[in-house]
Symmetry: C2
């Protein structure tokens, strides 16, 4: 670092006294998110912001000096969107972690961006309200990060994604200006949907420093789970398609493939039925006889498609037991080596074909690939595992990663269903979007951030 | 028109042979939408486009000559968004009126933009599917226009607005380039949400020439209606708030005020209960005992809030009879004079206060204002009536219009809930959005349409 830069960092300190970190350990800790293998360059400094005004001052400081700003929630992203880059500072929103208010009559909450997803849910549950989007990272990821990546989750098949719940936001623009986008009302079409544009823009157009999120009533739902083991991926795919065609929209419809099941079974000895190539886990949340009837129909459709060991549960503990394999899948796989998490979304009907192609890709490249899928959405998470320190395996894993992206596009899919483009999916995004649409992105980026201050090089 | 322009129009003819209209009657007919009192200037020509490629050629032709392009669906807009402007041609999408395909497994339809909303619903119903957004204009407005304005409707309180159903679109940009935005899959976060940005942008960023819309299963719904008359707007407001607080999300919750009821009653002699100041109409669509119980609870909440003549219906014909006053409200008012339709959205809890202010505004300005409201959304449609040819009344109506917009903003509302800004709400939009957000709009508009070809001066 030059003397000038050091003096400059001293200047930065005045905006966030005691909260500008420059020690090596902090710079390392804040230099990347949870994406395996995405590049990063340690930042010049990390600022732990505590207010919108602080963020605005810091962005203005950076913009004046040609320094780039990388916003960061909890750093749980899986695409490298929060990875620091050359000549950058990281602005962490983790200390802005208060739910500011809950409006019961209008059913919304106003929250700072650093609130953990599960903490927001717990808070609003105290008011009889429910925030649906439930990424698997809900215990560790923040609402601000969820909004910046338009996070999905398990119940999205019925309840939609983060974008569907963001009503209004306070945003610090690249100029340091503070704006409020969106509206608190149930509807509103004044001007362009800029709040919607910010959601999923991965910190490249603005830094979200406050959010108003729409909530649903907590009451009026009764969870019922149905699980079934299938002799083949095709059989499971047939069951998924049959549920969709029957006009049933489940509150969850998850698939776990053989590789994943074996990893969990070897670790926890679940007593996996022999010959099980896939496990489907469904939930419905309609009340009373309507819910009962839907669960019946799903159980029948599972059986008709060749599902065995079909089990049902209505009790919360029992449901948790049935969903255990889903919760343990990721840690079970991590025992086998570093996991490169894919995230693709294909048409629901293409799920079996996509899963077959993934298995072929695994075999051809001699890597282990396990699959968790939000099957009801066609959103697959192939988990590519490479032994620690095996560079050749790592290279083969990268080849497999690219092949999966190409196959997904061939089947009419999108290269990221819910994790975001970040750095890992830049090539895939270019392939999917094409030149003219990328130029639209550039026009918008240049219009709103002409100096390229905010998280440049990410997202598209 | 100059000789050059005439030669130019001849050139235009080659792109749409026989479908370039320049006769006075056509120019007049296509020069404005259904917004009373919004300005317009007859266009140079009207092009009845029949394909994406034609639209692209026409836009390129216009862009090369500094001619502006005003896209038009059915011209049923209520804000002047489709009004032609100086040195413009109107590109009508009305002939592009085919539903191209329905994908039952993935639950979406691919449609041309000129398909009438009701025609799309009827078409997909044949496949057991349902397109929820139901603007009151559903019998006459097009899907393309619905998307360009992000149209709402009656069932939006439960099912959301047009934006929530647009998955993908083909768009002709100001450059004449043809792009595909969005994705066919259930989820997808590759790049910015440009399909979402186009929805509601009122033809200022691109011309939508094809749409993929998400559908829901038609089965699994059973409609039940509950209506009640209330002795005051406050009492009706209390009922609306009580339903919301009880965690009930109805499939419709409409309010009709006294002025409106009297207009309908005087015309159709409905037998209006004496002292009725407001009518609330609710629908639920849960099946079986769940739906029955919800209808019971709404009926109880109506009665508790002072509602009388509470009636219920489950039969489709009976439901239609109960909703008759809602359907007849607009034509009943049009008998009294030209109607200037307002469209504001306030927090649900502010509905009674807003309705009172509207009545005060009516009294102070000596104009008749009747109200239809999507009460469950806080979306109000004050209908301002001025006798034909009475210029003083027209001026007073305009004063009332501006006062309503100001009151709406004071109560935390938005100046347009579902009709769009067009020309009529430009001042309101500037007040609501403020300078910094308007500059963001300009940056995006300039980035995507640097020459200002597409519908300039509309929307913000």
């Amino acid at each position: 670092m030059t003397t000038n830069q050091l003096e400059s960092l001293d200047h930065l300190e005045q905006f966030a006294p005691g909260r500008v970190l420059t020690d090596a350990e902090s710079l390392s800790r804040y230099s990347h998110d949870d994406a395996e293998w995405a590049d990063f360059v340690p930042p010049l400094a990390v600022v732990l912001a505590t207010s919108t005004e602080e963020v605005a001052s810091v962005v203005r400081w950076a913009s004046d000096r040609g320094v780039r700003v990388v916003p960061r929630g909890a750093g749980t992203g899986l695409s490298g969107g929060a990875n620091s880059i050359e000549n950058s500072i990281v602005v962490s929103l983790e200390l802005m972690n208060e739910v500011l208010s809950v409006n019961v009559d209008e059913r919304y909450a106003v929250t700072q961006p650093g609130v953990i997803n599960d903490a927001l849910r717990a808070h609003v549950a105290g008011f009889g309200l429910w925030y649906p989007p439930d990424p698997a990272s809900s215990a560790i990821s923040t609402i601000g990060g969820n909004a910046a990546t338009n996070a999905g989750g398990i119940c999205c098949v019925k309840y939609g994604v983060t974008r569907d719940y963001v009503l209004r936001m306070t945003v610090v623009l690249a100029s340091g200006e503070i704006v409020s986008l969106g509206h608190d009302t149930a509807k509103g079409v004044t001007g362009y949907d800029l709040a919607g544009l910010m959601v999923g823009s991965e910190g490249t157009l603005g830094i979200i420093t406050e959010l108003t999120v729409r909530l649903l009533p907590l009451a009026g739902r009764e969870e019922r789970a149905v699980i079934g083991y299938f002799p083949s991926l095709e059989a499971a795919g047939v069951a998924v398609a049959a549920i969709s065609r029957a006009g049933i929209i489940p509150a969850a419809l998850e698939l776990i493939d053989h590789t994943c099941l074996v990893a969990v079974d070897e670790w926890q000895n679940l007593g996996l039925p022999s010959g099980a190539q896939a496990l489907l886990l469904a939930k419905v949340d309609e009340t009373g006889p309507a819910g009962e009837s839907l669960a019946d129909r799903i159980a029948s459709l599972f059986a008709e498609a060749g599902g065995s060991s079909v089990e049902r549960a209505t009790d919360a503990d029992e449901i948790n037991r049935l969903f255990l394999a889903r919760r343990l899948a990721y840690p079970a796989l991590e025992r086998l080596g570093p996991v490169l998490t894919e995230d693709i979304c294909v048409p629901r009907s293409a799920v079996p074909e996509m899963l077959q192609r993934i298995q072929r890709t695994a075999a051809r490249n001699d890597v282990v690939i396990a699959n968790i899928a939000h099957a009801g959405d066609g959103n697959l998470h192939p988990l590519i595992i490479a032994p620690v320190g095996d560079d050749a395996a790592k290279a083969r894993a990268k080849t497999a990663f690219d092949r999966i992206v190409a196959d997904c596009l061939e089947l009419g899919g999108t290269v990221t269903g819910e994790h975001g483009v970040g750095l890992l999916k830049l090539d895939g995004a270019r392939l999917e979007l094409g030149g003219a649409v990328i130029r639209m992105h550039e026009a918008i980026k240049n219009g709103l951030d002409p100096l390229g201050t905010l998280n440049p090089g990410k997202g598209f």
